[in-house]
């Protein structure tokens, strides 16, 4: 029997562009089992090598297709601590699914949807997939940052019996998963569930604690046997064009933080405001830009415009997000680059002056280099501009630990085990890689946790370390 790739049901685009409810509605169990059956159980599964953490995809799909959900969940969770998250946000089409053999003829197995399905099932049936925690080792580990990297490392370390404390700068754990990625793509309840699960396994989470300020890395080294740093890449890059400080210009981080973490969309029920904007121009072509542009529409913008200097093909955002944005009526200005923010006499934003671009010879990254078309200046009228052209390593933590080795961009340098040049201090996620992905941060957390576990077997007892 030939089965076609099953479809994800979605909230109607018109309706959803006015609410924060999740866009993808999830698969019915019947549908999920059917889709899982499409897996050919390849002897040499290419999909697995496409996944940065090598999830044993055929194994969990086989168990799923047999209807053995608990076993499928256990198998999946062994490889990936946050399947409900990655099932929603991984760029599957360039990782696991692009490698799937089924894709050679027809459509690949919907690994992402199924991962989400099994992850969600596991969340609803915790008692059937309990976290096995080893006997206490008496070792204490500190984690700086409660994003996907830090949370994964904490879980892996706790499972091995270590006493783990996560220090988080903000008032809520989750990192980008709570302040950046919007509710309509990743409901906050999922992150809260995962955090609760870690806490049940004994992980302590201390919020409002800024490593580098409240405690230095040196102090953590004195009080803990090992340290994992996963403080992310949260330093917004601006365009450096005139008018960038006019009222109405936001970094995507600020815009999304106000709306997501601080619930500004509920103002005045929530205390934090955000400028809604009648016409919002978002500069950039990544996931962050899509999130900002789609958020703008949801909080009431009449027009939400993505301004990107290359073409649709080069956009780094997940294909699904671009597709969803188009469905929701986001406008796209391709091959366009901003040169100035225009404001009125009171310095409120009134427009974004841009030039048109054409694609020239490929650059170092192999992508065609955009070149300015002379005399092509024009203005996009708008009252809010969201700058989403990337982030750099936040220097706050590293600046207070001068002995730690950084690369020229300020990212922490680690060895193949994820260890920095300071013995017992490990790092991973965006602070090491630069802005990357959730699954890569989780992979780093997992790998580092294993290496830390090894390190702790022979590490000198607390207090005897020297610098």
């Amino acid at each position: 029997m030939k089965i076609d790739r099953q479809k994800m049901s979605e909230q109607d685009p018109l309706q959803r562009s006015t609410n924060f409810g999740e866009v993808n509605l999830g698969l019915q169990e019947k549908v999920a089992l059917l889709e899982a059956e499409r897996c050919l159980q390849c002897r040499d599964p290419k999909c697995v090598s496409g996944c940065p953490v090598m999830v044993n995809i055929p194994q969990f799909l086989e168990l799923l297709s047999e209807g053995n959900l608990a076993a499928a969940a256990q198998s999946l969770l062994n490889d990936n601590a946050l399947p409900s998250v990655t099932g929603r946000v991984c760029p599957q089409e360039t990782q696991c699914e692009i490698e799937c053999i089924r894709g050679n003829k027809g459509l690949p197995v919907a690994v992402g949807y199924l991962e989400r399905f099994v992850g969600d099932w596991a969340r609803g049936n915790r008692e059937q997939v309990p976290m096995q925690v080893a006997a206490p080792t008496g070792r204490k580990v500190a984690v700086a940052g409660a994003g996907p990297g830090g949370l994964t490392a904490a879980g892996e370390l706790a499972r091995r019996g270590h006493d783990v404390t996560i220090f988080e700068a903000l008032h809520k754990p989750g990192g980008v998963l709570v302040y950046g990625i919007p509710e309509f793509r990743l409901p906050k309840a999922i992150v809260e569930d995962e955090v609760a699960r870690l806490q049940q396994a004994g992980v302590k989470i201390v919020c409002n604690t800024v490593i580098g300020r409240t405690y230095t890395i040196q102090e953590l080294r004195e009080q803990f046997d090992a340290v994992f740093i996963a403080n992310g890449a949260g330093l917004p890059v601006f365009m450096n064009v005139p008018g960038e400080n006019f009222k109405g210009v936001y970094s995507a981080n600020e815009y999304l933080t106000r709306v997501n973490l601080m619930s500004a969309y509920q103002f005045p029920q929530a205390d934090t405001p955000v400028l809604v904007g009648r016409r919002v121009a978002t500069v950039g072509g990544g996931n962050v830009a899509m999130d900002a542009a789609r958020t703008a529409k949801r909080i009431g913008a009449e027009a939400s415009i993505i301004v990107y200097r290359r073409t649709r093909k080069e956009m780094p955002a997940r294909a699904e997000e671009i597709h969803h944005a188009e469905q929701e009526g986001i406008d796209f200005e391709f091959l366009v680059a901003p040169v100035e923010v225009i404001g009125d006499e009171k310095r409120w934003v009134t427009g974004l002056k841009c030039v048109r671009m054409q694609l020239g010879a490929p650059d170092a990254s192999g992508r065609a280099r955009p070149e300015i078309i002379p005399g092509s200046e024009f203005v996009i009228p708008c009252d809010v501009v969201v700058v989403s052209i990337g982030t750099r390593a936040n220097p706050l933590l590293t600046a207070t630990c001068p002995e730690m080795k950084l690369n020229k961009w300020g990212n922490i340098v680690v060895d193949e085990n994820g260890m920095t040049n300071l013995p017992g201090v490990f790092a991973g996620g965006d602070i090491v890689r630069g802005a990357a992905t959730v699954i890569l941060a989780m992979g780093d957390g997992k790998r580092a946790a294993a290496a830390m576990d090894e390190y702790l077997k022979t590490a000198p007892p607390l207090g005897s370390q020297t610098v």
Binding site: N208, T209, F238, E254, M262, R347
Partner: protein, 279 residues
């Protein structure tokens, strides 16, 4: 969770809260601030650590009630808890090692000047403070500052100290010479006036900027200010900068971003619609 240990009204709209925060009380340095998240759903707002008692494990927040978030805070009573306080944030004040310093404080800025004067005094620097307010009851931290050096009080109506603005008193003192550095904290127009005074004299002047902040960790860029024609994030690069290089117009302008919202929030508050409200 941080318990409020004591509460004291300092002026008609300025309240001091002493809050339990042992770690912060121990390590805070002059010029540093905290981000206060009063409760779930509340705004995150920056407040200077005006004083600290490491023995009791408390820090002092001195709060001018200007809008919803500050009003909600000063409505809290001893025994109640603030959900989150993150810090100490910002770079510590650049304190001179020896010599004579002038500290100018206007309104609630006087509370921000206080830890700076404390720090200077501890180094053995001679401190002269000039502080001001509308009238007698608006002058704060006079006693505390007197313990650290000489104090000149200025009131607009002459009901206490001299009549007139702090800048006038500062001008006289600076003209007499012998001041090595000026620290000025207060409303933007006051800081700008002080800076305009010291610029031609070539006296190094440090000001503390108060842009709108969200995270306080360098993640959002909302607190960006222009100093020496470059962009800085006040929460990590500041909040103190060389006053002679600060773009005060830009700061003032950006501070007006949410004026309309603030009025709505305050209105909702006053008409009893808000969730927490003034009790």
């Amino acid at each position: 969770m941080h318990e409020i240990i004591a509460k004291q009204g300092l002026s008609p709209n300025v309240t001091r809260l002493d809050v339990k925060a042992p770690r912060l009380a121990k390590i805070r340095q002059a010029g540093q601030f905290v981000i206060v998240h009063r409760a779930e759903g509340a705004e995150r707002i920056p407040l200077t650590i005006a004083d600290a008692d490491p023995e009791k494990g408390t820090i002092a927040l001195v709060i001018q009630a200007v809008g919803k978030s500050t009003r909600d805070l000063v409505a809290m009573e001893p025994g109640e808890f603030i959900t989150g306080i993150a810090g100490p944030l910002g770079k510590p004040t650049e304190l001179i090692e020896k010599g004579r310093a002038l500290c100018v404080g206007g309104g609630v800025g006087t509370a921000v000047v206080h830890p700076i004067a404390q720090g200077l005094h501890r180094q053995g620097v001679s401190v002269h403070s000039i502080i001001g307010g509308r009238s007698k009851e608006w002058v704060i931290f006079e006693q505390e500052l007197r313990q650290l050096g000489e104090v000149t009080v200025c009131t607009d109506d002459g009901s206490h100290g001299r009549k007139g603005f702090v800048t006038e008193a500062a001008k006289e003192l600076l003209s007499a010479g012998g001041i090595d550095i000026v620290y000025a904290v207060g409303p933007v127009p006051m800081m700008r006036a002080v800076v305009n005074l010291t610029r031609p004299m070539g006296v190094h002047t440090i000001v503390s900027l108060n842009p709108v902040m969200v995270d306080g960790t360098g993640m959002c860029g909302g607190c960006r200010v222009t100093v020496d024609n470059q962009t800085f994030f006040a929460c990590v690069d500041g909040p103190e900068f060389d006053g002679h290089l600060v773009d005060f117009e830009g700061l003032m302008d950006r501070l007006g971003t949410y004026r309309e919202f603030e009025q709505r929030a305050t209105h909702a508050c006053e008409s009893g619609q808000c969730k927490v409200g003034l009790h």
